[in-house]
């Protein structure tokens, strides 16, 4: 008899839910391949927009809801460094004074991981079975990079994708200008940051941009399209799951 598989609650994030469903399916495929039982519990927003917008009370309410929604699973995995960091790093700060939640939120923080770091470090998946004949640059989302130390894990996995060649950006550690509501509140400044990044992307000569952060991808993909630059943008999960070249209808 097989031992019972460990369960992973897939926390897809709002942006994937609304704008990039395929990233959620790619993440689920990767987690299932790694031997986990994947569950998608009813979920909404982690509260990051409220938290960063100064609405602490709203953020606390959403944090509590999310804590409750994600209980009872061995792990929680998000295809996003920033939403994972919200749960892992910021939830404990928001709820540590609340008797009913202090222990539960610490427990959730320990169980929660960003997708590529979960695959590489927890599931010990060190290679994937995927092929993508392309040259690609990789953009690090700032929260994942600085709050969770995610940088080498996605690259290590991408290097095992057959026929994929990584071309590093010069400005690896510089923000792309997304920043949640920042990109619409300070559109002019955000645009300059995005334009700096798309120039860097073009300079690598790569025809594909990969990132683990959907917000950054939407920002850069949208900027590249507006500029008429023929560089496609894919989430790292899509590439690793071999779903980077599926027809658009399936997104």
């Amino acid at each position: 008899m097989q031992p019972k598989r460990q369960s992973v609650a897939l926390f897809v994030t709002c942006l994937v839910d609304l704008l990039r469903p395929r990233v959620g399916f790619a993440a689920a495929r990767l987690l299932e391949h790694a031997g986990f039982e994947v569950v998608v519990p009813p979920q909404s927003c982690c509260g990051q927009p409220n938290y960063n917008g100064g609405d602490r009370r709203g953020a606390i309410a959403l944090a509590k809801r999310t804590v409750r929604a994600l209980e009872g699973f061995d792990y929680v995995v998000a295809p996003s460094g920033s939403c994972a960091a919200m749960i892992k790093r910021h939830y404990p700060l928001l709820l540590n004074q609340d008797e009913r939640y202090a222990t539960r939120v610490r427990d959730l923080a320990l169980r929660t991981h960003e997708l590529t770091s979960f695959l590489y470090e927890v599931a010990e998946v060190h290679s994937v079975d995927a092929e993508l004949p392309a040259q690609a640059s990789y953009h690090d989302g700032c929260s994942g990079l600085r709050e969770l130390g995610i940088s080498e894990q996605p690259r290590a996995l991408l290097r095992t994708v057959h026929r994929l060649e990584l071309k590093e950006l010069k400005t690896r550690d510089v923000c792309c200008g997304f920043g949640g509501t920042f990109c619409v509140k300070y559109a002019d400044v955000s645009n300059r940051m995005a334009a700096n990044k798309t120039r860097d992307i073009q300079d690598t000569g790569a025809e594909l941009l990969i990132s683990g952060e959907t917000g950054c991808l939407l920002n850069l993909e949208g900027k590249l399209h507006r500029e008429g630059v023929p560089v496609r943008a894919c989430h790292v999960a899509e590439v690793l799951a071999g779903m980077a070249e599926v027809a658009d209808e399936d997104r």
Partner: protein
């Protein structure tokens, strides 16, 4: 402090359209992070030193009264005088009195952000004094009557052509069209002009990088040596600085110094690093007859014990500005405050209130690069977030944003409502898409309301017909 932060958005746009400024900023943005990185790589214990530095500052701030009084006593023992200034006005009036008591006419200064903060130059000029800035960058912007655009490199927004033009316009013995143009010539020109001012000045005003409580010393770091001349040639030396600059011991000061220059300019040490203690002693060959230290509060003590106390650890190294992508885009003037970049976004509201400075802590993508490079580990994004919380509580945040966030918090609390709203949003976005939007490949190039900020500069790919959660549940047959 003059504040024009209300116009950040407009000022940023002007800065973004200024090609010359953008050129200067992009050279700066390339150079400074690399220099710092090299310097830090050369000091393996850099990260541990920042722990120690943070602890030194925290300990000092917890016992600030004790160390400031110790500093005052040691300055007095060395023959100097400490003055306490509650606010900008008191600071200016103390300095003005010292100058007039000396019968001074010419005052030279080395770079000091606190004197910018309290608007000392204007106060002294009103009293009939002539003020000459001796830091090259400060000197240039003084001639141009501009505020500093960077706390360390005040003229970083200018090119050498700008400087050549400025000197040509102000130094009257330069023959038309035959002035200095190359960097070395420009420095030489400033050096020649300033040399006479140094020799003729009655009072020298400096800031302070650190104050050492156990010795009563004022520590000054420059690369031009101008602070040393300012502090030692005139009869009177006045050091004016914020109360948070004190550290307990010489040992502590040296720890901070190991971090300061590396963080600021990527140097191991400032070219000139000098400890000034008291006026000239009988056995000293030179030095001032009078030694004054003006300790400025101006809102700092009110930060103690609040969410913003950590900001008082700041040693003004400018690493946060040097690494900030927003600062790199707009330069310092757009912030409308002498303190710009991430440190200014936290400090300026603390000093003058959030009412006029609300844009500053909001104009950040929270990328966290500032916190990563801060040598005293100030959690700058967290402190900016605290300001956003104050604005939200006090209804100072824009009402669309406030109501939008409140509505979102309600929607997202009820998963079924959330899913319904998301599905509606997907439908709406698809309806705005051009191209073959039926199969989801269309692009949206125009959105209304706040989302117009997105489509002003970027397109958005139309979403799929159903949200992930809907697709997952229908595909996998899972319960809602």
């Amino acid at each position: 402090m003059k504040i024009d932060s209300q116009h950040f958005v407009q000022n940023a746009r002007i800065a973004l359209d200024n090609q010359k400024l953008q050129g200067a900023l992009s050279r700066f943005a390339d150079a400074f992070p690399k220099l710092r990185q090299q310097a830090c790589d050369g000091l393996p214990e850099f990260r541990e030193l920042t722990d120690i530095a943070r602890d030194i500052k925290d300990h000092t701030l917890e016992n600030l009264d004790f160390y400031l009084e110790m500093f005052e006593a040691r300055v007095a023992a060395a023959g100097g005088i400490v003055h306490w200034a509650r606010d900008a006005e008191e600071a200016c009036s103390i300095v003005r009195s010292i100058c007039t008591d000396q019968g001074a006419r010419l005052v030279i200064k080395s770079k000091s952000m606190v004197t910018e903060e309290v608007e000392l130059n204007a106060a002294l000029e009103e009293a009939g004094l002539r003020i000459v800035e001796t830091d090259l960058g400060e000197y240039i912007i003084q001639l141009r009557a501009e505020p500093p655009s960077h706390i360390l490199a005040p003229a970083i927004h200018l090119t050498k052509e700008d400087v050549a033009e400025t000197f040509q316009g102000h130094h009257h013995d330069i023959e038309r069209g035959r002035g200095p143009v190359e960097r070395r010539q420009l420095v030489e020109e400033a050096r020649l002009v300033l040399r006479d001012e140094f020799l003729n000045a009655d009072v020298g005003i400096t800031g302070a990088n650190f104050l050492v409580a156990e010795t009563g010393s004022v520590v000054l770091v420059t690369n031009e040596g101008n602070a040393d001349l300012t502090a030692s040639l005139p009869r009177t030396h006045i050091a004016i600085t914020g109360i948070e600059k004190v550290v307990p011991t010489l040992e502590n000061a040296t720890t901070m110094l190991r971090l300061l220059a590396r963080s600021a300019t990527g140097q191991e040490f400032g070219t000139y690093t000098t400890f000034f203690t008291g006026p000239k002693r009988p056995e000293d060959p030179s030095g001032p007859d009078n030694f004054h230290v003006v300790l400025v509060d101006n809102g700092r003590s009110a930060m103690l014990g609040t969410d913003f106390q950590d900001m008082l650890r700041c040693i003004r190294c400018s690493a946060c500005l040097n690494h900030c992508p927003v600062y790199h885009a707009t330069g310092g003037h757009a912030y409308g405050s002498n303190y710009s970049g991430p440190m200014g976004a936290v400090l300026t509201p603390s000093l003058v209130g959030i009412e006029k400075t609300g844009h500053l802590p909001n104009a950040s993508s929270f990328c966290g690069r500032c916190e990563e490079v801060c040598p005293v580990q100030i959690p700058l994004p967290k402190l900016m977030r605290h300001w956003r919380e104050r604005e939200f509580e006090r209804h100072l945040a824009p009402s669309t944003m406030r109501h939008g966030l409140k509505a979102w918090a309600i929607i997202a609390r009820f998963p079924r409502l959330y899913r319904w709203v998301l599905q509606r949003a997907a439908g709406f976005l698809r309806s705005r898409a051009r191209g073959s939007s039926e199969d989801g490949t269309g692009w949206i190039s125009r959105l209304p309301g706040i989302a117009a900020g997105w489509t002003r500069y970027r397109d958005m790919r139309a979403p799929a017909r159903a949200t992930f959660q809907k697709q997952w549940r229908s595909g996998r047959g899972e319960q809602a």
